[in-house]
């Protein structure tokens, strides 16, 4: 009996430690450290959390913060969709066809190792300072990662399940929906996870170099004005948006699509 009691206790304790309480405490700790550091520094190079939150509020209500956030978010979404769509198709094809894999592999390695900045500059030089060049450049930076991940997924498709599907004469549509896509789901999840973070970092560079709006443009502007409060304000606002996407969109979708996993026998 005492063994059972100890185990129950441990289960309860882990649940508290893994709940949202920990996340909130962790964020509060960060704000506290920031606050103390700002108090010690006492300068305009490191404003405290209060000043930055005040700036975010003012800019959101009276200024352009929401518009700029929206523009950047739109660019992130567009690049993400383009990169995932093109990268998945190429990755799956390379995973299934050895000859194609051989042919495209050197290109893949070149693209993987080409600095983002080079692609962005060349895109602007060749295609002009426009929206298509910006989004294309960001997508091109992300595509090789998607290709590598999805190629791995296509290589790991279970031949046993494929045989089952063929023996039972499943239609191509049904095979895709019931057999192939569920196996690729973890690879899609991995590609989009790393994709969103990489893309939004590169989108800011693209905006800084050649767009007249967006968070990247604002950061550049405020850097020239040496307005650290604005820089931190824009950063914080965008991080909040990304956190919201992660917790309200990515994680619930992932939980839903992996609900069949980890069920005890």
């Amino acid at each position: 009996m005492s063994v059972t009691f100890v185990r129950n206790d441990r289960v309860r304790r882990t649940r508290v430690l893994s709940g949202p309480v920990v996340s909130v405490l962790s964020v509060a700790g960060f704000l506290l450290v920031w606050f103390i550091a700002a108090e010690i520094a006492q300068g305009r190079l490191l404003p405290g959390p209060g000043a930055v939150l005040q700036y975010i509020y003012n800019e959101a209500v009276h200024g352009d913060l929401l518009t700029e956030l929206g523009i950047t978010l739109w660019r992130v979404a567009a690049s993400f969709v383009v990169a995932m769509a093109i990268g998945s198709v190429i990755g799956l094809a390379m995973g299934q066809m050895t000859a194609l894999d051989r042919a495209l592999d050197p290109w893949l390695i070149v693209l993987l190792n080409l600095p983002a900045l080079v692609i962005i500059i060349l895109a602007y030089v060749w295609f002009g300072l426009n929206e298509a060049a910006a989004i294309g450049a960001v997508a091109l930076n992300k595509i090789p990662n998607v290709v590598v991940t999805l190629r791995e997924g296509a290589r790991n498709l279970d031949p046993g399940l494929d045989e089952m599907a063929r023996a039972y004469r499943l239609s191509p549509m049904s095979r895709l929906r019931n057999v192939v896509l569920p196996q690729l789901q973890p690879y899609f999840a991995a590609a989009s996870r790393s994709g969103i973070s990489l893309i939004w970092k590169i989108v800011l560079v693209v905006e800084l170099l050649g767009r007249p709006n967006g968070v990247g443009f604002e950061l550049h502007l405020n850097f020239q004005l040496f307005n650290v409060t604005a820089i931190l304000g824009y950063t914080l606002a965008f991080v909040a948006v990304m956190l919201a996407i992660e917790y309200l969109l990515v994680q619930p979708i992932e939980r839903h699509s992996t609900r069949w996993r980890n069920k005890p026998v």
Binding site: G160, L161, E163, M164, R166, A167, Y168, R169, L170, S174, N178, V179, P182, Q185, W260, R261, N262, K263, P264, V265
Partner: protein, 250 residues
């Protein structure tokens, strides 16, 4: 029990495989099957028995249409409905038991059919579960139900009860016979287990090792329902005497 004839395409199958070679990774060729000829009687249980690794699975994959790199012909209708039970259950882990069965089921497979089948193989409570929650024995039952859900013209069973403990395997063999007798189907079962073969077969086909071919076809006259332990042992002793090469060590 044989009054529930179902309207399928032709159910007589003629298997003629002149030669099937495997090419291994280093390029060497190995003849797996040569001059294999077999007439499968409709609505009967044909059991192919041979030692492990003698190309039985290869044979079944050819019959199922999963492998067409061989010379010869399989005399079946192209639109034939197949129910196939592999050595492993091969269920889709991301679909529930019910979805796994319904996904491959025949167009006229009704809710009543599902209920009957689930009852018959003892998985009625498992329909909303995911395969990972099931033991191997239960997963095999689901795979069996799935094979019957296609209302197959041809039922193929590839060592379906291997790596189960003998009691579970025995129970599943009786389940298979029960379901199969209620829905008479042309069936081919492959096994290396002599007693399993004797217990299930109408026609017992003894195979020679590589390159696989038919040694003989034995018709077992005793109805499956009357084959208790004693009867099986009696047939086994008789076969052991006449085909020591196929039955010694079993």
């Amino acid at each position: 029990m044989n009054d529930t004839q179902h309207a399928g395409v032709t159910s007589r199958f003629e298997i003629r495989i002149e030669e099937k070679t495997h090419v291994s990774a280093d390029g060497t060729e190995l003849v797996a099957i040569r001059d294999f000829v077999l007439d499968v009687k409709p609505e009967s249980m044909t059991v192919l028995m041979g030692p492990s690794g003698c190309g039985k699975t290869t044979l079944l994959r050819i019959v199922a249409g999963l492998d067409d790199r061989f010379t010869g012909s399989i005399g079946t209708h192209p639109d034939i409905r197949i129910g196939l039970m592999f050595q492993e259950p091969r269920l889709l882990p991301w679909r529930t038991v019910r979805q796994n069965i319904e996904l491959v089921a025949a167009p006229d497979f009704s809710e009543q059919d599902l209920d009957w089948l689930a009852q018959a193989v003892g998985i009625a409570d498992m329909l909303p579960r995911y395969p990972q929650e099931l033991s191997l024995g239960l997963a095999r039952r689901v795979a069996l139900a799935r094979a019957f859900a296609t209302k197959p013209d041809l039922l193929l069973l590839d060592e379906p009860f291997v790596s189960l403990d003998e009691r579970t395997a025995d129970r599943l063999r009786r389940l298979l016979l029960e379901v199969w007798r209620a829905r008479p189907t042309t069936a081919i079962l492959v096994t290396h287990n002599a007693r399993e073969a004797i217990m299930l077969a109408d026609q017992l086909v003894l195979l020679a090792p590589r390159p696989t071919h038919v040694v003989t076809v034995e018709t077992i006259a005793v109805p499956q329902a009357e084959r208790d332990h004693e009867a099986v042992e009696k047939i086994h002793t008789d076969l052991l005497r006449r085909f020591p090469g196929n039955f010694s060590g079993s």
